[in-house]
């Protein structure tokens, strides 16, 4: 119940295309869903995050869609660029004081020029 399942494991998209990464969870106590972006040799960095009181959040070319009833959320990258090539991790956390994040296994995105 503490898992976050992420798919696909890898994704290849042409420049200008839409990249879509999906995550699913079981624990309904999760109430915060961030996405992290990691470039090779670097630590992850927060990209965008959502809380379950909204169904969508957009920041520039990046959008999180959240489906509370299906217990799924996804990251959409519009007009994908070669500079977006990185590994993306979804995550979730539970209220309760420890503030721990549970991470998906990651999606390696390659955007071809």
């Amino acid at each position: 119940q503490q898992q976050v399942k992420q798919s696909p494991q890898s994704l290849i998209v042409q420049k200008g295309g839409i990249s879509i990464i999906n995550c699913a969870y079981e624990n309904t106590a999760f109430d915060y869903f961030p996405w992290y972006q990691q470039f090779p040799g670097k630590g992850p960095a927060l990209l965008i995050a959502i809380r379950p009181d909204v169904s969508e959040k957009k920041e520039g070319r990046f959008t999180i869609s959240f489906n509370k009833s299906a217990k799924q959320f996804s990251l959409h990258i519009m007009d994908s660029q070669p500079g977006d090539s990185a590994t993306y991790f979804c995550a979730a956390s539970i209220a309760g004081g420890s503030e721990k994040l549970v991470f998906g296994k990651g999606t390696k995105l390659t955007v071809n020029p």
Partner: protein, 112 residues
Amino acid sequence: NAGVTQTPKFRILKIGQSMTLQCAQDMNHNYMYWYRQDPGMGLKLIYYSVGAGITDKGEVPNGYNVSRSTTEDFPLRLELAAPSQTSVYFCATMKTRFYEQYFGPGTRLTVT
């Protein structure tokens, strides 16, 4: 501000050796975390701390120990290194809930 610093960047250990991975932050964040990252496996939480003097186990604590005597520092101790501890280790900090976790640059550890 340096943010989150980790030392060393790389280390090769022999089986049975011990070492301490250092993590320091200058953001005055209460929450600190140690993760390990293995290829295709995401980030696994080893230990975490919600403030100086308070630590707790994460998902994969076996073979590791931590201490948090100050807000700034959160060292991770490996005792009796094993090949299964070959990984990239990341330290992270967070101000409070719903805020970003800031990750350090990582330590790549190889145990042979």
